[in-house]
Symmetry: C2
Subunit: 171 residues, 2 copies
């Protein structure tokens, strides 16, 4: 945990006042950090034996192909509105103020198992929404994995799958 | 080329009328496709011997970490407005109607060489803008690599670096 954490930089009041932003940029830019990050994701995800790794737009994309390719799996994109062509399923989720929405292309995922990856688990809204989108296509979502979890927001308690966080902050 | 192309799906009139959208989703979702995609990216990029792989928000993120980790390099994010914390450099680029903008975190990239990756090269606006952002930090941009190039839009002619496209369409 500590090995990865030393490459995270914190920015007070971003993107808005009162938010302490945890930035993964230095971790990605450091070859040893990126290699270790992949190894830890793979270690967490491999036991779930998934068929697909789904990444949440946009920073989840940094990890879904990385892990999927290593494990010889396919990668799925869960995207913000207006980005995916074809027949979609869309779903709203609540933010502190207002709502956001995510979408996924229709695809037969019956009998397929999926692990969802993202950079950050905060309130858990986008992870929960992604899980429900995948389930509506027949998938069994067997786990989630994030680089950073903000424990004080209790995001993982809202999602009934095991979630691995490589780094966690108490607040 | 053909090996990868068979996993690309085309959608007429997306995101707007008259545009033929080339979708990489089936390629990413196919383990053999994703593996082959990585191998071809690595083959194209390794001879440039870069220090970093920069990915353009959002679909470039699918490839920058994948290639960087394989080559034991760092990955850099070039992002849409409002997404990156810290001191930034921002730059506008022109679209057919209006302008877009991209940003990068300030970082000393003197004597560092970078390859830029993205899913698509169309008019080349975002690739050219990304190159200029990296150069403003002192980097030498030694190449670009994309999954798909739309040749009829002449994007690569606007950018004075070698650009490898894994798949190209005449129109």
């Amino acid at each position: 945990m500590e090995d990865l954490q030393k490459w995270i930089k914190s920015y007070p009041d971003f993107p808005s006042k009162g938010i302490l932003f945890r930035d993964i940029s230095p971790l990605l830019a450091e070859p040893k950090g990126l290699r270790l990050l992949k190894e830890k994701f793979v270690e967490a995800i491999k036991p779930h034996a998934p068929d697909y790794i789904a990444g949440i737009d946009a920073r989840g994309f940094l990890f879904c192909t990385l892990v999927a390719e290593h494990l010889e799996l396919g990668a799925l994109m869960i995207r913000k509105p207006g980005k995916l062509p074809g027949e979609l399923i869309e779903k709203n989720y609540e933010l502190e103020y207002g709502t956001n929405s995510l979408s996924i292309q229709k695809k037969d995922l019956n009998d397929k198992s999926v692990v969802i990856v993202d950079d950050l688990l905060a309130t858990g809204g986008s992870m929960k929404c992604s899980k429900e989108l995948l389930e509506s296509l027949g998938a069994k979502v067997v786990g989630g994995a994030v680089v950073i979890e903000l424990k004080s927001l209790n995001g993982s308690s809202k999602i009934d799958i095991p979630i691995t966080s490589l780094i966690s902050y108490a607040d």
